[in-house]
């Protein structure tokens, strides 16, 4: 999982490539602030004590 850190263009490029996307430097730079915010929000989720909670996998369909 991504840890809390300053997101560099290189790390964005590598992560995007792993997901199968080849985005230009300009495109990556454009989304860098949004990814930074996302990563910081995800770090907050990481701190929640959720260990034993069963995740939702079905949607109450009767």
């Amino acid at each position: 999982m991504l840890a809390r850190m300053e997101i560099s263009a290189d790390s964005l490029r590598r992560t995007a490539a792993l997901a199968g996307f080849a985005w230009t430097d300009a495109e990556l730079e454009a989304i860098r602030p949004a990814v930074q915010r996302l990563v910081e929000s995800l770090a907050e989720l990481e701190r929640l004590p959720l260990g034993a909670v069963e995740p939702t996998t079905q949607y109450r369909v009767l």
Binding site: F21, S41, L42, L45, L48, L50, V53, E54, P55, L62
Partner: protein, 463 residues
């Protein structure tokens, strides 16, 4: 819709007259509102003439016989293009109707055309770079947003271009435009209405539902579209109740929980006062009102964004590799964020989803419905990025989604309806949330409120 259906059934008006009147209004007002992407005058008039011939011959298909409507542009419609508000699907013409479109056709409803939306339903403002931004009919000249993603549905129903619509709701896309445009919109329980033939945004969060002027009309449309569909494995086999019969106007003893903290207390002063006033009105009609807060809701914004970004990118991955330049910029950026979310993040978000669902269930174990703002603010101006809510500054997009997406997360039914206006004449929206598959009680509460107030009956002067 109910009134039109009655007038048609009793031959006070003909379906052809009704459809022509709506087509005339569309021709006069839509160039300014941009509610429609595709208008189908010939097909609509042909359907209206067939409906009229049936009536003359003594054949009637029910209360929607000959009544016009228009779906959001992401419902598959046989031989009518279904773009999803995108350039990518600009020439896509489905071979079949979505299940719910076919059900409304079998009920005799007449399709007028297809309604504008935020591209691929991925935005709460209702912006569209390809077909134009829908304007809010309450303030078209000052360029306020209609709300999204079902922006055309909100504007068209409010302006009288269509008496009813079907929107879709992944984070609030029915209830946000309903709130901002002063109409009534219902997101049913997840599994109550088929999504087959509806372009997805995020499969586990997408809901299909009616957008009309009143709870009574929502009940009418919901009754026609709800129920099991073998083409959508998430639909429920539970029987569909008579929603119209549930609208008794009686809320004596109804247990209502006013959602505080994240919801009512965080709204702008106008919205907070209107929602509190609505709670008092229900109390005056015999409901028992108390206050409740949801603690896990604080994490819904991030967890919801993770789930929607992951599922949306999964659907759009091929186009994002080959036609990324054809998306409008804000949608392209949101889709790209999905590439930076891991499987572990997705599961963690589903854990939060389980916690919130349980918490809402617990709140509803002792109450029949919950009450909250549908949106904590009224319609923003096009291009406005920042706003101030009751608990401080907020990004406009986050503010619009704030009160609605918890119930996409949990799957509970939720209905938005007008509960007042600002001094500047902009509608304020209330939200009523109910137990799973208990849309009847949600609609009963909203209908009872609409019997003792007239907010839902007001019309924008420009329209």
């Amino acid at each position: 819709m109910a009134d039109l259906g009655r007038m048609i059934a009793t031959k006070q008006v003909s379906p052809v007259e009704v459809v022509q009147t709506h087509l005339d209004r569309i021709a006069a007002l839509d160039p300014k509102l941009r509610a429609f992407i595709t208008i189908c005058p010939d097909a609509a008039l042909e359907s209206a003439r067939a409906a009229e011939a049936d009536l003359v011959a003594g054949r009637t298909l029910g209360p929607l016989h000959g009544v016009p409507w228009a779906p959001k542009e992401l419902y598959s419609t046989k031989n009518i293009r279904t773009t999803g508000g995108s350039k990518i699907l600009a020439d896509s013409v489905p071979a079949d109707d979505a299940t719910v479109v076919a059900r409304l056709a079998r009920a005799g409803a007449v399709l007028l055309g297809k309604l504008n939306m935020h591209e691929f339903a991925y935005g709460p403002e209702g912006l569209n770079a390809h077909y134009g931004d829908t304007r809010n009919p309450w303030s078209a000249d000052t360029h306020r947003v209609a709300g999204g993603s079902s922006s055309g549905s909100g504007a068209a129903v409010a302006a009288g271009l269509a008496p009813g619509s079907l929107g879709s709701d992944t984070g609030g896309s029915i209830r946000i435009p309903a709130s901002l445009c002063g109409i009534t919109g219902l997101k049913p329980t997840y599994g109550r209405v088929s999504r087959a033939g509806v372009l997805p945004l995020a499969w586990s969060m997408d809901h299909v539902g009616p957008m009309t002027r009143s709870a009574r009309d929502c009940a009418l449309m919901l009754g026609a579209i709800a129920g099991y569909d073998p083409a959508d494995p998430t639909t429920s086999v539970l029987p569909v109740p008579d929603y119209g019969a549930a609208l008794t106007g009686d809320v004596k003893g109804l247990r209502v929980g006013l959602l505080r903290a994240h919801f009512t207390d965080a709204a702008t002063p106008d919205v907070r006062a209107a929602v509190e006033s609505a709670a008092k009105a229900l109390e005056g009609a015999g409901a028992v009102v108390d206050e409740v807060s949801l603690t896990h809701v604080a994490h819904v914004a991030t967890a919801s964004a993770v789930i929607v970004a992951s599922e949306a990118l999964a659907y759009h991955a091929t186009w994002m590799r080959t036609r990324a330049q054809d998306y409008q910029p804000d949608v392209r950026e949101r889709l790209r964020l999905g590439a930076f979310v891991t499987g572990a993040h997705y599961v963690r978000s589903q854990q939060i989803r389980a916690l919130l669902t349980r918490e809402v269930d617990e709140a509803l174990a002792r109450r029949d419905v919950l009450l909250a703002p549908a949106t904590p603010l009224v319609a923003p101006v096009l291009g406005e990025r920042e706003t101030t809510l009751g608990d401080g500054p907020s990004d406009v997009r986050a503010a619009l989604l704030r009160c609605t997406r918890p119930f996409n997360f949990s799957g509970h039914p939720a209905c938005a309806a007008p509960c007042g206006f600002t001094a500047g004449g902009l509608p304020i929206g209330l939200q009523v949330v109910g137990r799973p598959f208990d849309e009847a009680t949600v609609l009963r509460a909203v209908d009872a409120y609409q019997r003792i107030t007239d907010w839902h009956a007001r019309r924008p002067t420009a329209a």
